[in-house]
């Protein structure tokens, strides 16, 4: 057993560092976030270099690598700039449904475009007001004349309004049926009649990506737009959430690393009371705790990614990685702000956006208690409910 990156993995990491060095610009990133404009050219370049969709099969312009490598990309990009990193690695939100469970035709139609950065995708899972509770989902899909008719509302869908394709979780069974049997996933294209996206306004971070509340009013999709079997939505959803959580843990680790890098540099350079502030024991201990939190979050995150690639990912491990890494990133970025003093609160010094981005990873895809429920179900070896 080896606890090091392989040579090719190290090369990926190095290539991304080079890419960030050449292409990331602090002011540009801040401007994109301020103006809520997406850095399309940057995405194009990242796609050209094969960083986006690195885990897609080669036939869809991927590199055929694993989730581990995808996570490595996410971590490294987020470390260099948490906001640009998240923006580059969240355009394909929901695409894993197609990748893992889609039909050949669905993959052919969308994956290459996604890997090229020409198409954004979105996961429309959470019903208005229901959070990560998928029992008795209010968004429904009913079969009529060989088509599916979707009705319902989804809240705060990332990429809502800009995505070309939405993966929508619907209830196809009755309310009294268990969620394990009554959910089905569908692909809805943005042009679909009856689909409206209302901008959800600014958020804690990731404002260069859009977020919207979606309304499905008698939206018709053909049966070929279905992902997986009818009634199999819950299983696929959980598989997707597991993968998503592993990626989020890597993004969180990158965010923590980036905040730590900046805090460390600042502590070396900032002089107060006649010495660099890193020479104060309390400061040094803060840095020590930050390093410690990053170490264990990273170990857990990489373990989860490795487990995924080896077909043995336990949902509990994915949730542990996500919760640990996100909480770690919040704590690390919090201290990075504190160590910067007043400058830490200023946009110009970056650590405040690392903190907001860290908190985003904590809230996104289920906050603490959602993850604890998943972990608890897993550690008690019970069926997830």
């Amino acid at each position: 057993m080896e606890f090091t990156l392989t040579k090719p993995q190290k090369e990926i990491q190095k290539a991304i560092f080079e890419f960030c060095k050449g292409e990331f610009d602090k002011e540009f990133g801040l401007d994109c976030e301020r103006n809520r404009t997406y850095p399309n050219k940057l995405l194009e370049k990242a796609c050209d270099l094969g960083f986006i969709g690195i885990h897609y099969p080669e036939e869809y312009l991927g590199a055929g690598l694993g989730l581990f490598e995808h996570c490595l990309v996410a971590e490294t990009l987020c470390r260099r700039d948490s906001t640009l990193g998240l923006a580059l690695t969240l355009t394909a939100s929901g695409a894993e449904f197609i990748l893992r469970s889609g039909t050949g035709d669905q993959k052919d139609r969308y994956l290459q475009q996604i890997a090229e950065g020409r198409l954004f995708s979105a996961a429309a899972l959470v019903d208005e007001g229901l959070g990560y509770d998928f029992r008795c989902l209010k968004t429904t899909a009913a079969q009529e004349n060989g088509q599916w008719v979707i009705d319902g509302k989804k809240s705060l869908v990332l990429n809502g309004g800009t995505a070309g394709i939405y993966v929508v979780l619907c209830r196809t069974g009755t309310e009294t049926e268990p969620q394990e049997k009554n959910l089905t996933l569908f692909l809805v294209e943005k042009e679909a009649k009856g689909l409206t996206c209302e901008d959800a306004g600014t958020r804690i971070s990731c404002n260069m990506l859009t977020a919207a509340d979606l309304t499905f009013n008698q939206v018709c999709v053909p049966d070929t737009s279905r992902i997986g079997d009818v009634g199999d939505g819950y299983r696929l959803l959980n598989r997707f959430l597991d993968e998503c959580r592993v990626v989020l843990s890597a993004q969180a680790v990158g965010i923590a690393l980036g905040a730590y890098d900046r805090a460390l540099a600042y502590c070396r350079e900032r002089v107060q009371f006649g010495k660099s502030i890193g020479q104060f024991q309390i400061t040094a201990h803060k840095l020590a705790d930050m390093a410690r939190q990053i170490e264990y979050a990273r170990a857990l995150s990489q373990k989860a990614a490795w487990h995924f690639d080896n077909g043995m990912l336990d949902p509990g491990l994915a949730a542990m990685a996500k919760l640990t890494a996100a909480q770690g990133a919040v704590a690390v970025a919090y201290e990075a702000i504190q160590l910067h003093g007043g400058y830490g609160f200023m946009t110009e010094y970056e650590v405040e956006h690392f903190y907001r981005d860290a908190k985003f990873t904590e809230l996104f895809c289920g906050a603490g208690n959602v993850q604890r429920d998943v972990i608890a179900a897993s550690v008690y070896n019970k069926k997830r409910s």
């Binding site: 306004g201 804690i204 702000i337 007043g342 946009t347 289920g366």
Partner: protein, 381 residues
Amino acid sequence: MEILHYTDAHEEFRLRLRGFCEKEIIPFVDEWEENHIVPKQAWKRMGEEGFLCTAVSEAYGGPGKDFLYSVIVAEELARTNHTGLAAPLHSDIVVPYIESYGSEAIKKRYLPGCVSGDIVTAVAMTEPDAGSDLAAMTTTGVEDGDEVEINGSKTFITNGINADLVVVAAIDPTLENPHQAVSLYLVKDGTPGFERGRRLEKMGFHSQDTAELFFNKCRIPVENRLGEKNMGFVMLMEKLQQERLICAVMAQFAVELIVENVTAYLKTAKDAMGKPLSKYQATNFALVEMATQARIGRTFMEKLVAEHMEGRDVVMETCMAKYWHTDLTQTISNRALDLIGEEAAAERSQILRPWRDLRVLPIFAGTNEIMKMVVGRMLQL
């Protein structure tokens, strides 16, 4: 037994202020956040209604009321969910310097305007290279006959753009020991050589016009000095108790408001089966813990307010409270977001703004690390 004794007059004042906030502040908060500044007119209206500088004595146009009125203002403003109209800074931190240390002429000239809201004040101590280490300041004040020339720059100045009058800490460059070389000067808006820099872009406090200030051969009359020459540090120390107490008071009210809001949210929001989220045991316990912390915080805060009003020396305890209460805003606001989940990540949730705003509390008015250093010294550790 109540620790603080609010009279009918206090309650009447509170209700009047609450009505004012509902009518003249809350509807405009989103606009002020967007504009990154509160219009001067809002300050003026606060003054007209008697909500500014409630402690200034009648001789200088104030109502000469007790500190509980300041506490009420802090509490009611906390409920407006914004920080731009920083009345506690003006009324309870800056203006007391003028009232305590200004000459009779200075007090007559400026205090009535501070009370009426015609004059907004700020205090300029922090510099780019002198934050926690205030003695490292490099802004100089050189007295030359009837005038003083100020040179240097200050940063992170609350009310920086709106300020009509700034208390500036400056050092006499001819003296060796910086602790015995700082004087406080009043610099008026429009004085040649006094320039405002950028309005600083921040994580929160968006309606607050935090700015950099520059003094370049800025000459002011020597009578604008507050107190004795070179006694700046002593004056700063004397005023620390109230400054730190007011931070703790603001933090406490912020905590209570968050607990109230997140509790209401989680009692209203229901899961798919109609069960209120507050009935989930983990959420339930979290809310209980938050409510408990808020109660403990309230007791400590009220005790310190009472002792401060009795004129007792509670500098050490107010330093403890500044760090403890402002740290509490962080644990509480972070937990509130976690309990609400994804929806809390949207600005529309209204719970996000306090999370963004409050992050500066453990930093400003002396970082919490500095508070601990001070307490450590006072405990003779």
